[in-house]
C-alpha cells in the first residue's frame, strides 16, 4: 500500500479533524450561553448558525477540489489533515512545491520518497504555524493597539498585502511559462476560462458564481490539459 494513504496517516487526519470539531463545539456552546445571558434572541443565534453552515458549503467544495489537486502528489490523508486546520490550499500548494523544489523536483508530481514527503509536511507545518503563537501571546495587546493602527496608512497596508500575493502568483506564473508548451496551454486555458466567467458574472450579475470561479477554471484547465496531452 502507498505509505501516503496508510492507516496511520488517516488516523492523524482523524485526530486533527476531531480536535477542530471539539474546539468549535466548545466555543459554540460558550458563545450560545453568553449570548443568552446578554439577551440576544436565541432565534437570531440559531439563524446565524444555520446560515453560516449553508454559506460554507460552496467554499468547502472549492477546498475539496484543492484537496483533490494536492492528493495526486501527497495522497489523500495529508491534504485532508492540512486543509482541515489553519492554512488554506493557496498556502499548502506553494509550501509543498517549495519543499519538493529543494529536492530538485520541479512542479509537484507524485511524491514516492517518504523523506521528501516528511520534508513537505515540515515545510507546510512551519510555514503556517506563527499565528498559533502570535495570538495566544499578543492578542490582548493587539486589541489595545488596533485602534491606533487603524489610523495608519490603510491604503498602503492593503496595497502591500496585494503586492505580496502578486509576487507569489508571478513566481508561479513564471514557472508555468517555463514549464513547456503543455504547461503554457494549461495556464492560458485557466486564465481564459476565468476571464469568461468574470464577464458572465458581470453581465448576468451572477454573484453566486464567484465562489466557484477558481475551482471551475482550475478543473476546466486540468481537463483541457488532458486533451492537449493527447493532441500534442
Amino acid at each position: 500500500m502507498d505509505f501516503k494513504n496508510s492507516p496511520i496517516m488517516f488516523f492523524l487526519g482523524g485526530i486533527v479533524s476531531l480536535f477542530v470539531l471539539s474546539q468549535s463545539l466548545f466555543f459554540l456552546l460558550k458563545a450560545l450561553k453568553e449570548g443568552k445571558r446578554m439577551g440576544i434572541d436565541s432565534l437570531a443565534m440559531r439563524k446565524a448558525a444555520i446560515s453560516s453552515m449553508i454559506f460554507s458549503i460552496a467554499p468547502s467544495i472549492s477546498i475539496l477540489v484543492g484537496l483533490l489537486a494536492l492528493s495526486q502528489a501527497l495522497g489523500l490523508a495529508l491534504p485532508w489533515l492540512r486543509l482541515s486546520v489553519v492554512g488554506a490550499v493557496t498556502y499548502e500548494l506553494p509550501a509543498a512545491t517549495a519543499a519538493a523544489a529543494a529536492f530538485g523536483i520541479q512542479g509537484l508530481s507524485n511524491i514516492s520518497d517518504p523523506s521528501i514527503f516528511t520534508a513537505i509536511a515540515w515545510v507546510m507545518t512551519i510555514g503556517i504555524i506563527p499565528s498559533l503563537l502570535i495570538i495566544p501571546l499578543f492578542l490582548k495587546k493587539i486589541n489595545k493597539g488596533v485602534s491606533r493602527l487603524k489610523q495608519g496608512d490603510v491604503v498602503w497596508g492593503s496595497i502591500f498585502m496585494s503586492a505580496l500575493f502578486i509576487g507569489l502568483i508571478s513566481a508561479f506564473l513564471g514557472m508555468g511559462v517555463g514549464g513547456g508548451l503543455l504547461s503554457i496551454l494549461t495556464l492560458l486555458s485557466s486564465a481564459i476560462i476565468m476571464v469568461g466567467l468574470g464577464i458572465l458574472i458581470k453581465k448576468r450579475n451572477l454573484k453566486w458564481l464567484e465562489t466557484y470561479a477558481i475551482p471551475i477554471s482550475m478543473l476546466g484547465a486540468m481537463g483541457l490539459s488532458l486533451l492537449f496531452s493527447i493532441v500534442l
Binding site: F3, I8, F19, Q23, K30, E34, G35, R37, M45, A48, A49, S51, S52, F55, I57, P59, I63, L64, L68, A69, S71, Q72, V85, V86, A88, A100, A101, A102, G107, N110, T118, V123, T125, G127, L132, L133, I135, V146, G157, I159, M161, A163, L164, I166, G167, L168, I169, A171, F172, G174, M175, V177, G178, L182, T186, S217, A221, M222, S225, L226
Partner: protein
C-alpha cells in the same frame, strides 16, 4: 472556581489553551510521520524549502492577525485561526452572519455571532472534507493511472492561471514588473527553484508597488481590495 471570570477573560484563558494545544498537535504531526516511515529529511533541504515560503507566509500571518482579529472578535480569532481557511471562508462567513443579525463587528453582540458563525462554518467544512475523502478513497487507483498524469502534472498552471487573472486584474500596474521579471527568468532558466523565487518576486512586487504608490499611480480605497486569495 472562586473568582468567576468574565466571558472575555474566559475566552482568552481557554482560547490560549486550545491554541497552544493546536500548536503542539500540529508540530507533532511531521515528527510522527518521520517516526512512522523512518524518514528524516536532511535539515538543509527542509531549510531550503522553508526559505521559499517562510518570509512571505510569516509576514502574511502577522498582517492577517492584525486585520482579522478586530473583525472576528476574540472568540472568533482563537477559533478561526486554528480552524483555518480564513480569507476564503471563515472571514466572509462571519461578516455575513453579523450583517444578517444586524450586529457590528467588534461589538459584544458581534463577538457572539462571529464565534457562532465560525464554529458552524467549521462543522460544514470538516463534514464536507471528510465525506469527500471517504468518497475519493475508492477512486484513488483510477486517479493515479498514467492516463490522468498530465492532468495532475499541470495543477499549478491550472490554479495560477485563473488566480492570476483574478488577482492581476485588481492591480495590474503592480503586477507588470514582478510578472515580467519572473517570466523572463523562467524562459532563460526553466529549472529555477520556485521556492527561492517567491521571496524575490514578492520583494520586487512590494518595492514596485511602493514606488507606484509614492508616485501617485495607485488610487483606490482599501474596501474589498484586500490582498485575500
Amino acid at each position: 472556581m472562586k473568582n468567576k471570570r468574565t466571558y472575555e477573560e474566559s475566552v482568552h484563558y481557554y482560547g490560549r489553551i486550545w491554541m497552544l494545544s493546536a500548536f503542539v498537535l500540529l508540530m507533532a504531526i511531521p515528527v510522527i510521520i518521520g517516526v512512522a516511515f523512518s524518514a528524516w529529511p536532511p535539515l538543509d533541504k527542509v531549510l531550503l524549502g522553508l526559505l521559499g515560503v517562510v518570509p512571505m507566509f510569516w509576514t502574511v500571518a502577522v498582517i492577517e492577525v492584525l486585520t482579522f482579529s478586530p473583525m472576528l472578535g476574540n472568540g472568533g480569532t482563537y477559533l478561526g485561526f486554528v480552524t483555518g481557511n480564513l480569507t476564503n471562508m471563515k472571514v466572509p462567513c462571519a461578516l455575513n452572519a453579523m450583517k444578517g443579525a444586524g450586529v457590528e463587528p467588534g461589538s459584544p453582540e458581534g463577538e457572539i455571532i462571529s464565534t457562532i458563525a465560525i464554529a458552524s462554518s467549521t462543522f460544514t467544512n470538516t463534514i464536507v472534507l471528510t465525506l469527500g475523502v471517504l468518497l475519493l478513497v475508492p477512486l484513488t487507483p483510477i486517479l493515479s493511472s498514467p492516463t490522468f498524469k498530465p492532468m495532475f502534472d499541470n495543477i499549478l498552471p491550472a490554479l495560477f492561471g485563473g488566480l492570476g487573472v483574478a488577482f492581476i486584474a485588481k492591480d495590474w500596474k503592480v503586477a507588470t514588473l514582478p510578472l515580467g521579471v519572473m517570466i523572463l527568468l523562467y524562459i532563460l532558466a526553466p529549472t529555477l527553484p520556485v521556492g527561492i523565487l517567491i521571496p524575490v518576486s514578492a520583494a520586487i512586487a512590494i518595492s514596485w508597488a511602493r514606488f507606484l504608490y509614492k508616485k501617485g499611480h495607485l488610487h483606490r480605497t482599501h474596501d474589498n481590495k484586500k490582498g485575500d486569495l
